[in-house]
């Protein structure tokens, strides 16, 4: 049994009903239900951890990791959309491209509030996540054949060959 153990710090409220038997024989009274001697300690710890700076960092990490977390979902959507060119896949691909690009453009705005030692790293992760999303969307475009990646896509711009020699004639008229 892990009765002597201190409950995990992260839990503010925890009731350990198994700690009665063994530990404090010396004390006359059993502690009332819900009493935890180390609660104060925990509390202090929690208050230390939940100081605003720490929270901001945590929140901003969440923000920074957001785009990356969406990647599996996007992959799934892409898979479901298929490669045919019709209105819904096109809309999806459009969204896939537009969202990260928008996010990249408004990055300054998003990170205006965020300061701290992690800011640079978070910015980088956020940026990376969006780039990955864009890359995914582009890959989707490519597999749908929407990217001008083949020579055939540039065929309309190929100039006709210039004529070097001029010829004329035909059947003899005599």
């Amino acid at each position: 049994m892990t009765a002597t153990r201190v409950p995990p710090k992260r839990y503010k409220w925890a009731l350990d009903s198994t700690t009665r038997g063994k530990p404090d024989r010396s004390s006359d009274l059993a502690s009332p239900p819900g009493y935890n001697p180390s609660a104060g300690q925990v509390y202090t710890e929690v208050t230390r951890e939940s100081d605003p700076n720490h929270l901001i960092i945590k929140k901003s990490w969440e923000l920074a990791l957001g785009p990356l977390k969406q990647v599996p979902m996007n992959l799934f959507i892409m898979y479901m959309a298929g490669n045919s060119i019709s209105i819904f896949p096109i809309m999806m691909v459009g969204m896939l491209i537009i969202r990260p690009v928008k996010a990249l453009f408004t990055m300054q705005n998003t990170f205006k509030m965020i300061e701290g030692s992690h800011a640079a790293g978070q910015k980088f992760v956020y940026f990376l996540g969006n780039i990955v999303s864009v890359a995914l969307a582009l890959y989707k475009c490519h597999s749908m054949g929407l990217l001008p990646s083949h020579s055939s896509d540039w065929l309309a711009f190929v100039e006709p060959q210039m004529r070097m020699e001029y010829s004329g004639g035909g059947m003899s008229l005599i």
């Binding site: 065929l155 190929v158 006709p160 060959q161 035909g170 008229l173």
Partner: protein, 931 residues
């Protein structure tokens, strides 16, 4: 609507093919469903029917609706309306010798024609409807085709047709007219020594011969049983031995005799007992026609002298003139050639006078009708039945646009003002005040009169659909035809001009288009002098028909072997013509283009193909200097052996542009087209004891002389038709083995990479192209083929196929694509080619001339219009048919049924509604704020 029909058809045929094929077909048909709505008939197209140069003519004196029957050199029998000259009915006989009409006459029931050589066809045509009443033939084993030696005589009373052959002896063979049963023939006992000249003067035959310097007239009856010939020496009247004998058409057996030196004709009336000379003489050049009037026979003398066309009527027997018809009419000699009367008829009029109608044909193949007393009633330009060259040109800009063009024409401006921004601005102000003044003046009815072209409505339109069709005909008459209405705008007759005998063609070059205002457009016609065979050139303004240089044709003084238009223009935007004469000397016309020719000499090549020897020879101009142009033979290829003959040389259209340089494959790579502008297709034909008729096709680069590709077909014979365009060649032939018309297509590709992306040279590192080929079956006989052409070459190409049944089929290139796969792979499906099926469809919606049958098509001319989607088409042959086609549908213009009204009403409505709602919304917001 059409699409839904396609879909229905597709669904109902679903059991035949897989849905994918069905869908593919549907997609194809989405683009390519043509057809025409009923109300579009005649909106974009017109047809003109012709009969050709008149050979025989007879007035209809029998039926109630009076008409004139003609039979022509083009093997056509037709009835023309007396008042308008319109065709009442027309029958087209066989081509060439087998349809040549030897004789035409009318009975009370039918028009009788005798045509063909072996067998000879005798046909009776219904007078009113032109239906075939009977048709029988008889073989002539030793038929002498010249018309002098076969005479025909129709006995209206006996209903017998007599064939008289004038060989070493005169044999008469009668036939029953309607059944064709041969009756017993006879030999005419004419005592002839030398070869006589004979005519039929029904029911006699009259021959003239010279015995010892004295002309003798022999006459003998054809119909009488034991007729005896009667001979009459002409000694006191005519002493000259060179005499001409003519029969005078009509009810009485009358012949005219004239000698070479004489100015008059003597008339002889033939009787059983001999011939009687009439007591008067007529003018030598007069055409004589007999007619009967008020129970007496009259003689009409039709005479053309000094721009006047006269009719003299006289009593046949006495020669007394009948005064009330004798009259003369002014002949329009400026637009028609000298006439000869073909037939005439006189009828009494209500006012007791006499009205005479004269049908005449002219040397320039027109046919017209005079009415005496009165005027020229109508003229038909039958020269248009033998078109040899066609061009379509843009019309010049309107007067106002011309004024704007002038503004930007720097040459016109004086140097002080033209340069710089300020100068341009002042110029603009000046020209606009000028325009304003012109506008006010024109409103007030003052000012300069509009130009002739402007008055006639011959100005360029917005879409470049209004053009001038310039036509050169085989008799050397040029026409300018308005393409929208089909009216002849101008005509010009050239004397002593003939087409090149080898291909029956003249060459029409556009030296300058109408784009170079203020320089007028200029065309040049190259032809052959009728007598000497020398080359002749005639330069003219194609819009007005006025000569650009000398008034008539210019004799060049040498025979033209080959000609080409220079690639570059001179300072006046005029392209010179390069001519190679029979001695391989080079000439350039006009001489002002000499410097341009010399400048571009290094890149100019000319080639010639000899039909008889089968030799193709190429010449380079490289060794020319500024004094003299010189053609040096640089290569020679002999393509035939033995009795093979070279039958066709086809190069690409010089005005063609290719927009797409390659073809996208299923894997999205590009197959680059092999677009060699110097490539020509050459066809040789021959006979082989094993393979029977065979046909070879060579693709020859005419700059280097290299044979790029060649193919041979066994048991294939003419008619061979070739279309050569972009990177493909399409040709058709008749397969002897399977007895059907086959179409073969060849497509040439450079490969997946372009060897040189900027320039194409035939000499530097020539490429061997990849050739795709495929053969198809066309259910029909082809008489002419041509590809459509558009301004920029973006629109897909269709092949226009004139079929022997008189239809013109628009065949999409997609159907004859050599890449149509036999086994369908996903890649091929991705590429958009339809699976291979050997039979080509001939849907009736694709017949562009719907029920407007065109007979005996000689060729098809296509020209781009100002709209990229639209191609203008002129089909010529016996008939002219003009229309326009849009191979990829009219993607660049709104549909005709586009609802402008609805769209603008909706737009206007929406704008108004949005304004009102804005007002309402702001009011509501204000109220909300006060609450």
């Amino acid at each position: 609507m059409k699409i839904s029909e396609e879909l229905n058809g597709c669904i109902s045929r679903m059991w035949l093919r897989s849905p994918i094929v069905c869908l593919a077909l549907l997609l194809i048909h989405l683009n390519l469903s043509y057809g025409l709505y009923e109300d579009q008939i005649g909106k974009f197209d017109w047809r003109q029917m012709y009969v050709g140069h008149v050979k025989f003519a007879e007035f209809d004196t029998v039926s109630s609706v009076k008409k004139v029957f003609v039979s022509t050199e083009e093997n056509v029998v037709a009835a023309l309306n007396l008042k308008s000259g319109n065709i009442i009915w027309r029958q087209v006989l066989e081509k060439k010798e087998q349809g040549t009409i030897h004789f035409m006459n009318i009975t009370s029931e039918a028009v009788i024609t005798v045509s063909g050589t072996n067998p000879v066809n005798v046909r009776g045509w219904d007078l009113n409807g032109g239906f075939l009443l009977w048709d029988w033939s008889f073989p002539l084993h030793v038929f002498i085709s010249s018309e002098e030696e076969n005479k025909w005589f129709l006995s209206d009373t006996e209903l017998k047709l007599y064939h008289i052959s004038l060989g070493s002896e005169i044999i008469v063979k009668p036939y029953e007219l309607t059944s064709g049963r041969a009756l017993e023939g006879s030999k005419l006992p004419l005592p002839l020594a030398s070869k006589p000249s004979c005519v039929v003067a029904a029911p006699y035959i009259a021959c003239i011969e010279s015995v010892g310097g004295n002309p003798i007239l022999h006459t003998v009856s054809i119909t009488a049983v034991n007729s005896k010939p009667v001979s009459k020496p002409l000694k006191p009247l005519i002493e000259n031995t060179e005499v001409t004998l003519e029969s005078v058409h009509g009810s009485q057996p009358l012949v005219s005799v004239t000698s070479s030196g004489s100015k008059v004709k003597y008339l002889f009336l033939i009787e059983e007992t001999g011939s009687r000379v009439l007591p008067y003489q007529v003018e030598r050049s007069a055409k004589l026609v007999q007619d009967s009037l008020r129970e007496s026979n009259i003689l009409l003398q039709l005479l053309y002298t000094n721009e006047w066309f006269d009719v003299l009527t006289s009593n046949l027997l006495t020669g007394e003139p009948i005064p009330d018809v004798t009259s003369s009419l002014k002949y329009p000699h400026d637009r028609l050639g000298p006439p000869t009367a073909a037939a005439a008829v006189c009828t009494p009029r209500k006012d007791k006078g006499l009205g005479c109608r004269v049908l005449f044909s002219t040397t320039d193949h027109a046919v017209g009708m005079f009415h005496y007393p009165g005027k020229l009633i109508w003229v038909r330009e039958e020269a248009l039945a033998s078109v040899v060259a066609v061009e379509m040109l843009d019309l010049p800009v309107s007067d106002t646009e011309a004024a704007i063009e002038k503004e930007f024409d720097h040459k016109e401006m004086d140097l002080g003002v033209s340069s710089g921004f300020g100068g341009m601005f002042t110029h603009r102000l000046l020209s606009q005040t000028l325009q304003l003044r012109l506008l006010i003046l024109s409103i007030l009815g003052l000012g300069d009169p509009p130009s002739a072209g402007q008055r006639a409505g011959l100005v360029r339109d917005e879409f470049g659909l209004h053009k001038m069709i310039v036509i050169a005909t085989g008799v050397g008459k040029l026409f300018g035809i308005d393409n929208l209405s089909g009216e002849i705008v101008w005509r010009r007759r050239l004397e002593n001009v003939a087409s090149y005998s080898s291909q029956n063609q003249m060459i029409l070059y556009v030296q300058r288009t109408t784009r170079h205002f203020p320089h007028p457009a200029q065309c040049a016609l190259l032809a052959r002098h009728k007598v000497s065979g020398e080359g002749v050139i005639f330069t003219f303004n194609p819009i007005t028909g006025q000569p650009a240089g000398s008034e008539s044709v210019t004799l060049l003084g040498y025979q033209i072997q080959q000609s080409m238009l220079l690639a570059f223009t001179d300072d006046n935007f005029l392209r010179g013509i390069l001519l190679l004469d029979q001695k391989e000397q080079l000439h350039v016309l006009p001489s002002s283009a000499h410097s341009v020719a010399v400048k571009s000499a290094g890149s100019t090549f000319i080639f010639t193909a000899d039909k008889n020897t089968g030799i193709l020879a190429g010449y380079s101009l490289l060794f020319s200097n500024s004094q003299k142009l010189e053609a040096t033979r640089v290569w020679e290829v002999k393509l035939t052996q033995g009795k093979q003959r070279l039958t066709a040389v086809v190069s690409k259209s010089p005005v063609e542009r290719v927009h797409s340089q390659g073809r996208v494959l299923g894997d999205r790579s590009v197959l680059y087209k092999y677009i060699n502008p110097n490539l020509v297709a050459v066809v040789t034909q021959g006979f082989d004891p094993v393979h029977k008729n065979f046909l070879n096709l060579y693709l020859v680069d005419v700059v280097s002389g290299s044979v790029v590709f060649s193919i041979s077909h066994k048991k294939a014979r003419e008619p061979v038709h070739i279309v050569h365009s972009e990177n493909w060649v399409l040709y058709s032939y008749f397969s002897d083995k399977s007895r059907r018309t086959e179409i073969v297509t060849l497509e040439l590709y450079e490969g997946k990479v372009q060897s040189n992306t900027t320039a194409f040279s035939s000499v530097a590192s020539p490429i061997q192209p990849i050739v795709d080929q495929q053969a198809y079956i066309l259910p029909g006989n082809i008489v002419a083929m041509k590809e459509t052409i558009t301004e920029k070459g973006i629109t897909s190409k269709h092949i226009l196929v004139a079929l022997a049944n008189g239809g013109v089929l628009e065949l999409p290139w997609m159907f004859v694509d050599p890449r149509r796969p036999i086994t369908v792979t996903p890649e091929m499906r991705e590429e958009g080619v339809i699976p291979y099926m050997p039979e080509l469809p001939v849907p009736s919606e694709s017949i562009i001339n719907y029920n407007q049958t065109v007979q005996r098509v000689q060729g098809i001319h296509t020209a781009p219009s100002g709209l990229e989607s639209t191609c203008l088409v002129l089909v010529y042959g016996l008939d002219l048919y003009y229309t326009r086609v849009a191979p990829s549908k009219t993607f660049d213009v709104l549909k005709e049924d586009f609802d402008h009204f609805l769209i603008s009403a909706v737009l206007l409505g929406l704008t108004v509604v949005s304004y009102i709602t804005r007002k309402l919304a702001s009011r509501k917001a204000l109220k909300q704020a006060w609450k």
